[in-house]
């Protein structure tokens, strides 16, 4: 493909020269045709093989009226009743969960983006002491075990915890364990954990902008602010979109932190979709409803991923060139 013609020529001659020592032409042809697919077999078995059956089961369960703990024989075919209940019933928390997820994703991503951009710009100044140390240190929060992060903040956010003490010093007294403040608490933790992700990817983006362009603009008399908005920002836009979409995916599927912090409570103040699935299964003991929620979550995740992949494919070169 991209090879200079010389290489192809050499390959051709070499192949001819070796043809005598290789299996017959027909078998080789067949192998060449099927080799790419044969290579995929182990990976496909390991992933589809394990996942296919449970996924089909999940679909099937979503049409059943079946209580957790009862035998499979007691399950009855219920048609679309579970979905209907989720979409119409007064006590269904589906739309509440979706609203929470939207609030959760919207607020945390906007805060993370603004903070991340500001810090990335600061980091991108000409001389910063220990820049590599700072960048590596910023990677730590994003990789920590989510349940431990939840547990850690749970301890800090208790009325006699560390965070409450420091907030008290500046005159802010918040009881995080109330319906009003539980969701902001989750968002705060999220901002703490994932702003660094934005910092690192945006910093990488800023690094990749060629210094010559910025210098040329400076010589032409463009102000720092103008250079940022009209040269750096257009370049960062794809990175911002990809990073934000990754965060949307993460938040859609999040469970661990909310579970350890509040387990969905107080009441249903933090009942995001993942928690809904858990509660429908282990508290309401309704397998069908839980499975229907799972199908909805899976569909949403797939939808976002599809949009993401479409976009990421287009801007992949930007992302790859931005990797430090």
């Amino acid at each position: 493909m991209g090879n200079p013609p010389g290489v192809d020529d050499i390959r051709g001659t070499a192949a001819n020269a070796l043809a005598a020592t290789r299996p017959s032409a027909g078998r080789r042809q067949l192998l060449r045709l099927w080799l790419p697919y044969l290579c995929l077999v182990p990976a496909v078995i390991a992933s589809c093989g394990v996942l296919l059956y449970p996924t089909l089961r999940m679909f099937q369960y979503s049409f059943l009226n079946w209580s957790f703990g009862k035998s499979y024989e007691t399950a009855e075919w219920d048609g679309l009743a579970n979905y209907q209940w989720l979409l119409t019933s007064q006590s269904s928390t589906l739309f509440h969960s979706l609203r929470l997820t939207l609030l959760y994703a919207g607020t945390s991503i906007v805060c993370e983006l603004v903070l991340g951009l500001a810090i990335a710009v600061l980091l991108n100044r000409r001389h910063v002491f220990g820049r590599q140390v700072v960048l590596t240190g910023f990677m730590i929060p994003t990789l920590l075990m989510p349940v431990m992060v939840g547990m850690m903040w749970r301890m800090y956010m208790y009325p006699n915890g560390m965070l409450s003490y420091f907030l008290g010093l500046v005159g802010i007294n918040i009881n995080w364990y109330t319906a009003t403040w539980a969701m902001p608490a989750v968002i705060l933790i999220e901002i703490w954990q994932f702003t660094p992700f934005f910092i690192i990817s945006l910093f990488a983006g800023l690094r990749a902008i060629s210094a010559e362009i910025l210098e040329a603009a400076a010589i032409d008399g463009a102000s720092g602010w103008y250079r940022f908005w009209h040269i750096s920002m257009p370049y960062l836009r794809p990175i911002i979109v990809v990073t934000s979409m990754i965060r949307v995916l993460w938040i859609l599927k999040s469970f661990d932190i909310v579970y350890t912090m509040f387990t969905g409570g107080p009441g249903s103040a933090t009942e995001i979709l993942g928690i809904s699935i858990y509660r429908a299964l282990f508290l309401s003991r309704n397998i069908g409803r839980s499975a229907a929620l799972s199908v909805i979550l899976a569909a949403l995740t797939l939808l976002v991923t599809f949009v993401f992949v479409r976009f990421a494919y287009r801007s992949r070169e930007v992302m790859e060139s931005a990797t430090p």
Binding site: A14, L18, A43, A46, I119, L144, I246, F255, D256
Partner: protein, 286 residues
């Protein structure tokens, strides 16, 4: 004249130095603010339970290993550490091994349906874990894999194998195909060329992919929580002990938190060059 210019230059140098200092200071203050909660966890884990729960916080108090002693002796955290290590290591090795041929295929061949298969891999990778917990529970019971290392490893594969394919594909593409071809021209088989030429060049790729899978499996909570009870319990699920044992226990929690997260913080240092590539692809993982 010359003296004046010299002075102006000096002043500019001074101003630039001050600017650098101020900028670095701001960056470092923000950085330390971000790390503070984690550093607090580490520092506080070495305090006596009384000092930990003191309000207002006691910043200077005697050093003790009491919490670690409690975590290792009463809660027997080393058992869960062992389980976590077994499961995470096996998941890592298996995922990478199973992914190599597919990654090679994606990187080196053009074949019909390639893009769609790549999409399929991503679609598998994003399947939300929490959505599949109950079917997994049923499946584990049917196969007799409930509460076993094997069950956990098996259920971690569908997410990690596509991830490994995705990562390794890029690493393999980065090795020039001409190197393999010239080895083949010298009489190597395709496999031999891959093994002798490409694999040694891929070691950093294997390492990076492996570390990311290890971190993911080490941190995984949902499946481990619902599919294990006693024998195969991994570290993240021990959180539950501290939550439900009578009153909520602060002191051992600090120590357990450090034990559970420090290996990962070290991993962060090992993969920093590939952090973005790994987290971007890893983000898709359920």
């Amino acid at each position: 004249m010359n003296e004046q210019r010299h002075q102006a230059g000096n002043r500019r140098k001074w101003r630039r130095g001050l600017d650098t200092l101020a900028g670095s200071l701001v960056v470092w203050i923000i950085f330390l603010l971000f790390l503070a909660p984690y550093l607090y966890l580490i520092v506080w884990s070495f305090k006596h339970p009384g000092d930990i729960q003191a309000y207002p916080p006691r910043f200077f108090s005697p050093f003790t290993l009491l919490n670690y002693k409690q975590v290792f002796e009463d809660v027997n955290i080393s058992f869960y550490l062992r389980n976590s290590t077994i499961v995470a290591t096996a998941t890592t090795l298996l995922s990478v091994l199973l992914a190599i041929p597919a990654a090679y295929s994606f990187a080196r061949f053009r074949f019909w349906g390639q893009d769609w298969l790549a999409y399929l891999l991503i679609a598998i990778m994003v399947a939300p874990l929490i959505a599949l917990v109950y079917p997994f529970l049923v499946m584990a019971n049917q196969l007799g894999l409930n509460d076993s290392h094997l069950g956990l490893i098996l259920f971690y594969l569908p997410w990690n194998v596509p991830f490994a394919v995705w990562m390794l594909r890029t690493f393999i593409s980065d090795v020039p195909q001409e190197l393999e071809e010239s080895a083949q021209a010298d009489g190597c088989t395709r496999l031999g060329a891959f093994g002798r030429i490409t694999v040694p060049l891929l070691l950093p790729g294997f390492f990076t992919t492996g570390i990311f899978i290890f971190i993911g499996a080490w941190n995984e909570f949902v499946i481990a929580f619902f599919l294990t009870s006693t024998k195969a319990r991994t570290l993240p699920t021990t959180i539950d002990f501290f939550l439900t044992y009578g009153s909520f226990q602060f002191a051992p929690m600090f120590a357990a938190g450090v034990v559970g997260t420090l290996p990962i913080a070290v991993c962060a240092l090992l993969v920093r060059r590939y952090y973005l590539a790994g987290t971007t692809a890893g983000a898709l993982k359920g």
